[in-house]
């Protein structure tokens, strides 16, 4: 196993487990950036994480345990919706995928695959068009924002019935995390939130953690989990058949179209950051 020497990845907060999944007793084991970590629940509000003998910094946020193998440069990004009292916050899935984290982020930002990969749920032929949308890099918050995303969806969420044009907003606040806001099927004035937190087990393997934060009094936690895990199970075989597994940052490695605007911005943003872990650097 090659050790991670990327200073950018080492300074990031990484998710390693859903807090609610940690047994009350005993030492747990996981892997991050190629290193074996051990963690343990101290009590309901404290989790300790160790790399060998070294105690690592810990943040508990959005239902997950986050840690950092280097020195964290900043706090974990904000997700204020999580604290809204009427939301259902569900740690909906943790799925291992044999792909790099940036490939999985791009897949999360991509609407064009809905009719082909999530057929009958997030999209359906013949409604395949990805309309023009806006992408901006917020330099102050250092995150990517894609707005005015509109896509036809037969069943946009666990709580929806029948097809709608769904409004999406995408946020990439972290090289390995992305957040999606979409029209809430049960309350027009609110937005449902689905966040993808990726744990880089190594450069070409991840554990994909999902947080679902919705205004939905109907669906059970099980419904919400089943919906999300069904979506992940459809993405997994596609992601595992992407070559190369690391995200190529050379603009000439692949052919983008207008629908890939957010992916183009994401690759450029990663290049600017100088991130190396999980990507293939552009030729100088």
């Amino acid at each position: 196993m090659t050790q991670c020497s990327d200073p950018v990845a080492l300074a990031l907060w990484h998710p390693i487990a859903a807090i609610e999944d940690i047994p009350a007793d005993g030492k747990q084991k996981t892997q991050l950036l190629g290193e074996v970590l051990h963690y343990r629940k101290m009590d309901d509000t404290r989790v300790s994480v160790h790399h060998g003998d070294r105690k690592l910094p810990v943040t508990l946020a959005y239902g997950y345990v986050w840690t950092c193998l280097g020195t964290p440069e900043r706090d974990l990004f904000d997700l204020p919706e999580y604290a809204e009292s009427d939301r259902r916050n569900v740690c909906a899935a943790t799925v291992g995928v044999n792909v790099s984290a940036p490939r999985a982020v791009e897949n999360f930002l991509d609407m064009g695959h809905f009719p082909f990969v999530h057929t009958g749920i997030l999209g359906a032929e013949p409604h395949t068009e990805v309309r023009e949308y806006q992408v901006n890099v917020d330099t102050e918050r250092d995150e990517i924002l894609a707005t005015e995303c509109l896509f036809y969806q037969p069943q946009a969420a666990a709580g929806s019935s029948g097809g709608v044009m769904s409004d999406y907003i995408y946020r990439v606040p972290h090289p390995y995390c992305a957040v999606l806001y979409k029209s809430c099927p049960t309350d027009e004035s609110r937005l449902d939130v689905i966040a993808l937190f990726l744990q880089s087990v190594d450069e070409e393997n991840i554990r994909a953690h999902a947080l679902v934060s919705v205004i939905d009094t109907q669906s059970s936690d099980l419904d919400i989990r089943m919906f999300q895990q069904n979506i992940f199970s459809q993405d997994k075989p596609i992601l595992e058949n992407q070559l190369p597994k690391r995200l190529p940052l050379d603009p000439r490695a692949e052919t983008p179209i207008r629908a890939d605007k957010s992916a183009i911005a994401y690759r450029r943003w990663l290049r600017t950051k100088g991130l190396q872990y999980g990507v293939l650097a552009a030729a100088a």
Binding site: E129, I238, P251
Partner: protein, 614 residues
């Protein structure tokens, strides 16, 4: 170690012919490189890089629909033979740049195997010393050992008199290794070791083993039995032979692998995946100018479709089997046209009628017109099979969206041609559509049998006068329906009426798609105006009597053109400032009102000055 560089220039077996079953995509490997192999319904074998160039997804998990390979991730369609992208569902209104092409490798069938290579420049290994009148391939066996370590132990194993699966005979072989990739075993007859009477009749064919270098550490052994097949020895004997060799090869594999167990793992071969061109890494710029005739084609067939309509079929020059780079025609999408440069000096546009996957030729259908300005006469009267002509690459300014819930195709007379290729594509993909063909007499109903066989409703409206035609069209466009699209091609008057009716009835402009044969209006070129070219920094004057396109051309500003009369849409230029005087019949009224583009061949300016994105 084999010479990797030399191996790139060889033909290698990559699969058995029987691996490529109908509508399947087979994943092969050669020199560390993955390939997606698939056979189209027309029998053509495709060997492609196993990677969609959009987002890198393996094409071997794609869908072979018989004519095109569809990527699982975003539904991009790639044509049989050319691997050119024909449709991008995320942008249904756009024709993909014709040069978006996956990486392809040559593929040839011989000795019951599929042969390919990175840049093969020699011949496929010959088996002339053996009886090749009948050949039966053995099941390919993968051995986890580098290629150069296979032949000797395999010779040892086969020549040491191993027992067959049925345990009843021993064959002695003489070995010959003309090169590191081929082992020939000459059978010297068999020796009975049991009293089984059937064994006497078991033939002992010579065997050729081809070694396929999968990657640095693994080799596929592809054997073929020479001189035997089901017809000359019968299926029972053949199955017995196949079982025997399958058993022996598995044994040989175990022996070779265990003999190699302690050897170091060789350095992997990393295949070079070509980069996409700069143009495909971003939006393609406008390049090269004028009516370009980039292709040379040979007229390969002429067929009468009706007393006045003939089809002309053109093929690429220099198509050679076993050539490393067989010349293929650039892929065309439904609705595309080509410019044909005729022997009399005229340049004319004709829609391609090819269906999906028909990529080994271009076909057009041309009606001999009495009022022809020379195009249809030249084609009908002076061309003969074998003639070489210059044509443009296909252009598509009449794009078929495939995200409609229903598509209505309306053709007037020979205006059927672009709609015929659309109907063929829709029918092949089982997309719902209706076709209306307005014709003067029954004999004008070209391709009737084919159209009647399609799943869609096809209506022929025969001999209607102007009023009847208008009544029929009015009824068809009665009320606009969401997610329905209308495509119409025919005489100018018919298009004019259809567009007006559709607009009056409330159809959205973007649901009505039309293509004129020619601009029915007289272009008024009496105005004078100035143009500024934002990107080139030029300021030019367009005088009365001269087109904007010709002024641009005089100053070496490249704009592609085709019909040069405002009908085809090829010479479109973006307008940044100023008010265009359109005069074309290509843009819809909405597009004209937006005023952000014009057809440089006929459009002029209402304002004193235009700023163009050139």
């Amino acid at each position: 170690m084999i010479d990797l560089e030399a191996a790139r220039y060889r033909w290698h077996p990559v699969a058995s012919s029987t691996d490529l079953v109908p509508r399947h995509v087979f994943q092969a490997q050669l020199l560390g490189r993955e390939m997606a192999l698939w056979r189209a319904d027309d029998g053509n074998v495709n060997a492609w890089e196993n990677r969609c160039l959009h987002r890198g997804v393996r094409l071997s998990i794609g869908i072979n629909d018989g004519r095109e390979l569809v990527c699982q991730y975003h539904g991009w369609r790639y044509a049989n033979r050319t691997a050119g992208c024909t449709y991008i569902p995320a942008h249904p209104a756009d024709a993909p740049a014709r040069t978006i092409c996956n990486n392809t490798y040559p593929a040839v069938e011989k000795h019951g195997l599929i042969w390919s290579g990175e840049k093969p420049d020699g011949q496929i290994p010959s088996l002339d010393v053996l009886d090749t009148t009948s050949i039966t391939p053995l099941r390919g066996v993968t051995i986890n050992v580098p290629l150069e370590n296979i032949a000797l132990p395999l010779i040892d194993y086969y020549s040491s008199g191993q027992r067959g699966a049925s345990g009843d005979s021993v064959v002695h072989y003489g070995a010959d290794t003309p090169d590191p990739f081929l082992l020939i075993l000459h059978a010297h007859g068999h020796l009975h070791t049991s009293a089984n009477a059937q064994a006497v009749d078991t033939p002992t064919p010579d065997i050729a083993f081809f070694f396929q270098p999968l990657d640095a550490a693994r080799t596929a052994v592809r054997g073929v039995l020479c001189g035997v097949d089901e017809h000359n020895i019968g299926s029972a004997a053949l199955i017995a032979l196949l079982k025997q060799h399958s058993f022996m090869l598995c044994r040989a594999r175990d022996i070779i692998e265990s003999g190699h167990r302690d050897k170091p793992v060789p350095t992997p071969w990393t295949p070079y995946i070509p980069k996409v061109s700069d143009r495909h890494a971003s939006m393609p710029p406008l390049t090269s100018a004028g009516q370009q005739a980039k292709l040379r084609v040979r007229l390969s067939a002429i067929e009468n479709l009706s007393p006045s309509v003939k089809t002309f079929r053109f093929q690429a020059l220099n198509t050679q089997i076993e050539s490393a780079a067989p010349s293929v025609l650039p892929v065309a999408q439904p609705g595309a046209h080509i410019d044909i440069h005729l022997p009399n000096g005229l340049v004319r546009q004709y829609s391609l009628i090819n269906g999906p996957g028909q990529t080994d030729h271009y076909a057009i259908a041309v009606k001999r017109l009495d009022d022809s300005t020379g195009g249809s006469h030249a084609l009908h009267d002076s061309l003969k099979v074998g003639d070489v002509l210059a044509t443009s690459v296909p252009r598509n300014n009449f794009t078929l969206r495939r995200d409609a819930e229903h598509t209505h195709l309306i053709a007037g007379g020979i205006g059927l041609t672009p709609l015929l290729s659309m109907a063929r594509a829709l029918d092949h993909s089982n997309l719902p559509f209706t076709l209306h063909h307005f014709i003067a007499t029954e004999t004008d109903a070209i391709n009737r049998a084919e159209l009647e066989n399609m799943s869609a409703a096809v209506h022929w409206h025969v001999g209607q006068d102007v009023q009847q035609t208008q009544d029929t069209l009015s009824a068809l466009l009665d009320a606009p329906t969401e997610h329905h699209h209308v495509y119409i091609c025919g005489p100018g008057a018919m298009l004019g009426f259809t567009r007006e009716t559709a607009a009056t009835r409330g159809w959205a402009d973007e649901s009505i798609h039309f293509e004129y044969f020619k601009n029915p209006d007289v272009v008024d070129d009496s105005s004078e105006f100035n143009v500024e070219l934002a990107r080139s920094g030029l300021s030019l004057q367009v005088p009365a009597g001269k087109s904007l396109l010709s002024v641009l051309r005089e100053h070496n500003v490249g704009v592609q053109s085709s019909c040069e009369q405002g009908a085809c849409g090829t010479c479109r230029v973006e307008v940044l400032e100023g008010e265009p005087d359109h005069q074309d019949v290509y843009l819809s009224d909405t597009e004209k009102a937006q005023g952000n583009c014009l057809m440089s061949c006929v459009s002029r300016a209402r304002s004193k000055r235009l700023v163009l994105d050139l």
